[in-house]
Structure formats: C-alpha cells, structure tokens
C-alpha cells in the first residue's frame, strides 16, 4: 500500500493529492498536459522539496511533517520525462550507475538482459550526445530498471519510442509487474498504454485527483471523460480455456461464453485481460452468419450515453457481469431500436483484442 498526502502551492498551480494506491500492479497517472502528473510523481520520489505532506510505502514511512527519508535511500526507480542521461558517461556507465550502487543480493535484473531487451547493444560505447532521442530514452529506462527497485516510477517513458520498440518493452514491463511483483506508477497520455498496463487509474485535473479506482470501473464510468474520447475502450477479465485451438487462436472463457483472441504464450486457467475499444464493437439483433467476425457475445443493453460526436452514441452493455462500451451511430440505434435491458449480440473482431 502506498499512502500519500501531498500539498504544493506554486501560485497559479497548486497540487493537493491524498491517495491510497495498491502496492502491486500498475497505477496509471492520467491527465492533461500541466495537470500535475510529473509533480505528483516527483513528490513520491522525494524530489519536490516544497511539498508538504506524508508518504508511506508498504508500512515504511518515507515522509511526514518532521521526517524525510533521503531520496537515495528510497528503493525506487525513476524514469524521467526527459531522458537526462549523465553527459560525461558512456551508455554502459550510465546503465550501471545505479546497478553498482545496490548490494549484490538485491540485484534482480542483470545488465545483459536489460541491454538485450532494450536493443541497445551497439550503443554501449557511445556518449549520450551521440544517441537519437529514442535511444536516449531506452537507456534511461534501462538505467532505472537496473537498480532493481521496489517501486518503479515512470514519467511517459515511451513518448519518444516507435511502435516496434514499445511493443518490445511493454511485455517486459508486464513481466516485471507480474513476476517480480514490482509495483509501477506510470504517467502516460497514451490510453492504449494505460489500458494495456494499468490496473489502477488516477485521474488528475489542475492538480486535483478527480477520480481514482480500478481501471475497468473508471474507463466505463459515464461521468468521466474516458468514454468521451475517440479511443474509449473497456477491459474485460477472462480466463484462458484453451491456449491453442490449432489455428493460432486462444479460447477464453467469459462467464459461460467463449471468446477467441490471438494471444499466445498463455496457459490454461490463467486470468487475462482483453481490451475492447468502443468503436470495435458491433451490435446486432440476430447473430450474423458468413462474416469474418469470430466473436459473438450475448449481452444486455445497460444504457445509452451521448457521445461527443453528435452522430454517435455510446451504448453500455453488460456481458458476464462486466461492462462493455459500444460506439455506434445514432442511425443504427434507431434502426435497431435499441433500448435499455434489451438483449443484443455484441460482435467483436477477434483481432481487436490484445
């Protein structure tokens, strides 16, 4: 459990955050530019000298009115919004700076694996000013990971990374989260990253926490802005039924319905999360035939929410006690005469999950 209560007053901007965050899984800090995400993360690390407040992590007190655990004694890893490499050290020395400073028995990650994962083998002998933007950021991520932290703070670590690099690093972070049970606090405005990684979400606006809770709940909460965005989506919890059905598909169990995804490397019985974007859902009154739509779930309409786009509507439906969002055109709502409590078929392209 991470208990924090911070106040900062900078005149035009003031931050006030009181939070109890789970000390496992990924907590995403989400909010617009200037909403105070970086500031809050810095408070947790102990970097904001002017912050008033208190902080404890897993029962250990890090900060109170009178006490302040020095930064370098906090078992954190921090990836800064700007890479901020040490300009006078080569990449390898940058990577191992923190690694060399922790006791051998605490080193859960080794330089070799991190270097390989980040694809920076060829850069080890270079100075930071001889790197591209994305290369610098990968080194900064590696540097923080190599301190084998007990709490990882990441401030938009992927912002300057291409899709391929992201796709390589994200699973690694998931692995850290799950296998090392490393809690991560993750600042991002890429909702895909958030929905993929985060379990818990904190929504900031102008220095205030306007919502906080389970990712699933917040994503589908009609009073929050998430459902209003183009990327509105939900996360479903399911269990693996058959890892490989022969043609590369994996069969999941959602309540008593089947769901096919293409995810591999899972084992039977394993709980998984699948992300469904609101716009990837098709609603039908009768189960269609002869289409490439693999998944057809039975669902009930919960309610119909307005959409920022006047031609659209957001239909909240319930499948196996979980909420899904479907963005459909108003014309379709009319055509299908959708209304609350009605039975519908939710058609999801298998490939849209992941």
């Amino acid at each position: 459990m991470l208990n924090l209560d911070f106040k900062i007053d900078r005149g035009e901007f003031s931050l006030a955050a009181q939070l109890e965050l789970p000390s496992q899984g990924v907590t995403a800090l989400f909010g617009r530019s200037g909403s105070g995400k970086t500031t809050l993360l810095r408070c947790i690390a102990g970097l904001e000298k002017t912050a008033q407040g208190s902080l404890s992590f897993d029962g250990e007190t890090w900060q109170t009115e009178r006490f302040f655990l020095p930064l370098h004694q906090r078992p954190i890893g921090y990836v800064f919004q700007e890479a901020s490499l040490f300009p006078h050290l080569k990449v390898l020395a940058n990577l191992t700076y923190g690694y060399r400073r922790i006791p051998k028995e605490q080193r859960k990650l080794q330089p070799e694996e991190v270097i390989k994962l980040l694809g920076i083998e060829e850069l080890l002998g270079r100075y930071p000013d001889e790197l591209s933007g994305g290369q610098r950021q990968r080194v900064a991520i590696g540097r923080a990971l190599l301190t084998s932290p007990q709490l990882l703070l990441m401030d938009e670590p992927m912002a300057s990374l291409d899709a391929t690099s992201k796709a390589e690093i994200l699973p690694f972070l998931e692995k850290l989260r799950d296998q090392l049970e490393l809690p991560i606090i993750y600042v991002s405005h890429a909702i895909e990253e958030v929905t993929r990684l985060a379990d818990h979400l904190v929504l900031l606006e102008a220095g205030k926490v306007i919502a906080e809770g389970e990712l699933q709940d917040l994503l589908t909460d009609p009073s929050l802005p998430f459902i209003q965005t183009e990327t509105a989506s939900t996360v479903l919890r399911a269990v693996v039924k058959q890892p490989d059905t022969g043609d590369g598909l994996t069969e999941l169990k959602l309540g008593n319905q089947a769901l096919f995804i293409s995810k591999t490397s899972v084992s039977a019985g394993q709980p998984v999360r699948v992300r469904v974007m609101a716009r990837d859902l098709v609603l039908a009154l009768t189960p269609p035939t002869e289409t490439s739509l693999l998944n057809c779930l039975t669902a009930w309409v919960l309610d119909i929410q307005p959409d920022p786009n006047p031609s659209q509507a957001l239909v909240r439906i319930e499948v196996a006690d979980q909420i899904l969002l479907a963005r459909v055109s108003k014309r379709s709502v009319e055509n299908l005469k959708l209304k609350e409590r009605q039975l519908v078929y939710a058609l999801i392209k298998g490939v849209a999950l992941g």
């Binding site: 690390a45 102990g46 970097l47 020095p70 930064l71 370098h72 004694q73 906090r74 954190i76 890893g77 921090y78 800064f80 700007e82 901020s84 040490f86 300009p87 006078h88 700076y97 923190g98 400073r101 922790i102 100075y127 000013d129 540097r143 923080a144 301190t147």
Partner: protein
C-alpha cells in the same frame, strides 16, 4: 651569467609553493564554492565580495598586514606560538597561507560558476539511482565541473608562480626556504644582472609554458561535455 644553484633552489621552492597552495585551495574552496553556488542566503553576496577583496590591496601592503597578523604580536601568530609551533612569519607555511589568500578568488569564482551549472537535473537523477550526496558530488559534480577546476588550478598556479610582493614581505626571502624564483629574478634585475634575470625568466616561462600546454592537451582528451 647563467643560473646559480641558489636560483635552482628558488625554482624548486616556487614549484613547491605553487603546488601546495593550489592543492590546498582546491580542497578548501570546493565546499565554499559549492555553498556559494547553491545557497540562497542573503549573506552570499557578502561572502562573494569578501573572497575578491584580497586582490584589491597591493601585494606588499597585504603582505605587511599579514605579517602583522601572522607575526609574534598578531592574533594568528600568537595562537600558533601558544601551540608551540612558533609564529608563521618567514616560514613556508606562512607563505602558503599568504599565497592562498591571494589566489582565493581565482579558485572560488571558476568553481562556483562550474558548480552553478553542474547541478540540477543530473543530481536528481543520481539520487534516484541510490547515490548519496557525497557520491553524487564525486561522480557527477566533480567531473562535470572539470573545466572549472582546470581554470582554478591554472590561474592559482600561475598566479602563485608570479606572486611576489606579498611573498617577499611575509617570506623573508630565505634561500632554500622562502626564496622563490620571482624574487630571485627581481633581484637579478635590480642588481643589473640582466643575463641571469633573462635566464631565470626564460626557465620559468618555458617550463610553465610546457606545463600549461600539457595540462590543456590532457584536458582536451577528456570528453567535452556541453550541458546546454
């Protein structure tokens, strides 16, 4: 006439003085400069001004005041006599103190400037990487402030080589102990022994030149870090 043995001894004393006082200054001024670079204390400007003050008095005059202070009637002198060490006038230690006072601003100011820049973000990063304040200082501030240290060393070293008025006054020009090359050269000039003066000057200038070139060349081999 060439270079006498006394001249060589004087050169040696000079070198020793310049090295010792430069090193001592670097050690002592590093915390002072660090404090000046970081503090928001209103006294900062006072300290900054005080540091530069030894420069404004003519060396001989400064030397005279120092002599009074370090001599048997002066506060510092009496203190050292009470310790059974004797007063400091006309000793090598006294010379070192005098030279240090006089080169103080040449060390503090470049270091302060370098520290003002070598701080900030990278120190925060290092703290999150488990580096203690001292560790950060040695692994980041020092290397990043490298040019400041170079400048401080060069200025202090060269200035001590040439310093003269104050050294004469508190040193007493004792051959083998406090007679330094600058005084020896000056004596040659005054004694109209120009050839010795030229010879010794040439040695001093040439060896300094070679030393400086080596230092600057060595410096080039380090990574030039542009923090902007």
């Amino acid at each position: 006439m060439g270079i006498s043995e006394a001249d060589l001894i004087a050169l040696w004393t000079t070198l020793k003085l310049a090295v010792v006082s430069t090193l001592a200054l670097l050690v002592l001024c590093t915390p002072l400069a660090w404090w000046l670079a970081r503090t928001r204390s209103p006294y900062k400007v006072v300290v900054e001004a005080l540091v530069a003050l030894p420069l404004v008095l003519p060396p001989t005059v400064m030397g005279f005041y120092l002599l009074v202070l370090l001599g048997p009637h002066g506060a510092v002198g009496r203190f050292f006599e009470a310790l059974g060490l004797g007063h400091l006038a006309f000793t090598f230690t006294g010379l070192v103190i005098g030279s240090m006072l006089f080169s103080l601003p040449f060390v503090v100011q470049p270091l302060q400037n370098a520290f003002a820049i070598a701080g900030g973000r990278v120190l925060e990063v290092a703290a999150t990487l488990r580096a203690s304040p001292l560790d950060r200082f040695f692994t980041l501030v020092l290397p990043l402030a490298q040019r400041g240290f170079l400048t401080a060393s060069v200025l202090s070293f060269a200035h001590t080589l040439g310093e003269f008025g104050m050294i004469l006054m508190i040193g007493g020009n004792i051959p083998g102990r406090t007679q330094v090359a600058s005084i020896a050269i000056y004596n040659h000039v005054e004694a109209m022994d120009y050839s010795s003066a030229h010879g010794l000057s040439l040695i001093l200038v040439a060896s300094s030149f070679i030393l400086l070139i080596s230092v600057f060349t060595l410096n080039r081999r380090f990574k030039v870090v542009n923090l902007a």
